[in-house]
Symmetry: C2
DNA sequence: CTGAAAGCGCTAACAC
DNA sequence: GTGTTAGCGCTTTCAG
């Protein structure tokens, strides 16, 4: 281990040229004779030289590294999807990603930002910033910042998904199948005041709930508060699995069983399926279930119909913004990318077969 | 963006000392007067100085960065678990992890190794090396290498799990519940020749299958080849989900339904549950199911009994080896860490209630 | 077309 | 105790 590293100087010496010339060959610059180039390339081969990106980074004051702050890859695969997309895209451009799972802890988010600054990343992706202050710190350190999924009010480029359209599509699907009593299990949407204060922050909850309400209204189906269960699903210890279970139990106890359930994450939906399994109800014969995300859905019994979030694309788009920013050196206005969701129909939804 | 970075020199100037003194304060060395230290600390505060780890790394020829090559976090959460553990442990010591998902592609694994070398990581973790050649390249570049889960024959430190004991525990559990006809769904184990050639490589498959056979033998239950389905589950497109489904269908068609099914991953088990759901069999009343990994298991219906792999611990252990190696400078023999699994009993296993 | 040399930001050896 | 300085490996003027 730790044999002596081959440096540019070694290559130069072997090729009988200066280090400047070696650099020129490496960077494919034109002002080198074919003969010298050959000689240098041979020397590179012989020595097994590998460029030192650390030294390059120091010199260029650019590390081609992006820091990615995630709320936690485990157990919610949503974040994995985004991370994977970001990684692939970065790779493609010769960049790297430094990831940091903060597991909903603002302290850790803070220390992630600090680490990234010290490591001189060129940009930070927040896949859901927890704390506006931490975004500000990154910005003040002169870093490019991209906010993904739930941006704060700070002005940076953002990448979000169109949750409204996705929800509408799901509810329409259920209505088309003949369902009328459609339950909604989701995070508490923001009130009007909250929405004013943080227009983007809680947009997801607002859009999902609004999509539900609007679609029912559009079909003259009255809202039934007994069918609406709003809770803090996402931040509970198991990301809403047991909360989904209990919510479904509550719906079953209430007497008038719903025709269908729309849950705003696959994890919540997984809890719903468990509750239905426990009382031997059949899906979709007795009740249809729709999830959101397309993470756990393929693995459940039956495979779950769900609104797919474009996770990988979200990661890719964020990284593309970074790369583009560093390619064209002029300052441009923060871009806001909004990607579309897609309904994936599987076995958990169908026409009602039996009467309740 | 890109305001001028504050450097040591700036701090030194403001504090009216030399850069060496600032370094001494930063590294908490003793040979500084309390007064100077105060002054320097104030200057650091005022300027908002943050150490430049890139420059540090160049100088020290140590980046405090670990490259982590994974087969793919999506969709198998096993890798996420390992990655998360590695990340946490690294963080704790002020190190960072650069991750690279290679998705079972040896080319990508190769390019991951090259990237890591160029970025001058201090060590590479392979969570399942794909290709021995790539491990060798890393070793030849003078990097510390740790092989996790399925080491090649190359001599490096390794981290593995005791798959034999885990399997024995699971089968014992099923036998205790009164089951006799226990099916085995798993990867094809190596033949004796293969085992000789690559003693560690296919150890997992061998251990799991041997654990199954030995436990049955121990209870005088004869092996029934109709109950054993060996296949290339792990490398199929969906990690064995549909293969698990079809394997279960085949078992059901064969007439003599098994009392219980042992699947060597939660994903395969998820496919098994789907097949059972489709024919309206009840779990565990009609048949018990056990998985492996403890990844998807909590989300399935019913929640799956499974053999938990110590994923996070595996990641942590690997990183700890790296840190320890760089703390104590002497060369030591490669360590081999073997962690234990744990049976997590949930709702998918129970005494047989009905007769088939 | 090629080379010499300065400097990116930090640290450690050596001098005072 | 504190300062001076060389140098980690690379790139980029500026000369030649």
């Amino acid at each position: 281990m730790n044999k002596k590293q081959v440096t540019l100087k070694d290559v130069a010496r072997l090729a009988g040229v200066s280090t400047a010339t070696v650099t020129r060959v490496l960077r494919n610059e034109s002002l080198v004779t074919e003969k010298t180039r050959k000689r240098v390339e041979q020397a590179i081969q012989q020595t097994g030289y590998r460029i030192n990106i650390v030294a390059q980074g120091l010199r260029a004051r650019q590390t081609k590294t992006i820091g990615h702050i995630l709320q936690g890859t485990a157990p919610n695969p949503f974040f994995i999807g985004v991370a994977l997309g970001a990684e692939q895209e970065a790779l493609y451009h010769g960049w790297s990603i430094l990831a940091f799972n903060v597991q909903h802890d603002p302290e850790r988010e803070r220390s992630g930002v600090e680490t990234f600054i010290q490591r001189r990343v060129d940009a930070i992706l927040f896949t859901t910033p927890l704390c506006e202050e931490n975004v500000r710190i990154a910005l003040e350190a002169g870093l490019m910042v991209i906010q993904v999924e739930r941006p704060t009010a700070l002005s940076t480029p953002t990448v979000t998904a169109d949750n409204y359209a996705g929800t509408v599509e799901a509810i329409e699907h259920l209505i088309t199948l003949g369902h009328r009593r459609i339950a909604y299990l989701g995070e508490i949407p923001p009130g009007p005041a909250e929405r004013k204060a943080q227009p983007y922050r809680n947009r997801i909850e607002h859009e999902r709930f609004a999509g539900y309400c609007d679609t029912l209204a559009h079909h003259q189906i009255p809202l039934d508060i007994e069918l609406i269960i709003l809770d803090r699903f996402y931040t509970s210890a198991d990301n809403g699995l047991s909360a989904g279970y209990h919510a479904m139990q509550k719906l079953l106890r209430s007497g008038k069983r719903p025709d269908a359930v729309f849950a705003t994450s696959d994890i919540i939906a997984a809890g719903v399926l468990q509750a239905l399994y426990a009382v031997h109800l059949s899906i979709p014969e007795d009740i249809s279930v729709v999830g959101f995300d397309n993470t756990y859905s393929p693995y459940l019994s039956p495979p779950l119909t769900t609104v797919e979030q474009p996770m990988e694309q979200m990661g890719r788009a964020a990284v593309q913004m970074v790369i583009r920013h560093f390619q064209q050196h002029q300052q441009e206005e923060p871009t806001h990318i909004r990607l579309t969701t897609r309904l994936v129909v599987r076995g958990s939804t169908g026409p009602r077969k039996r009467l309740s």
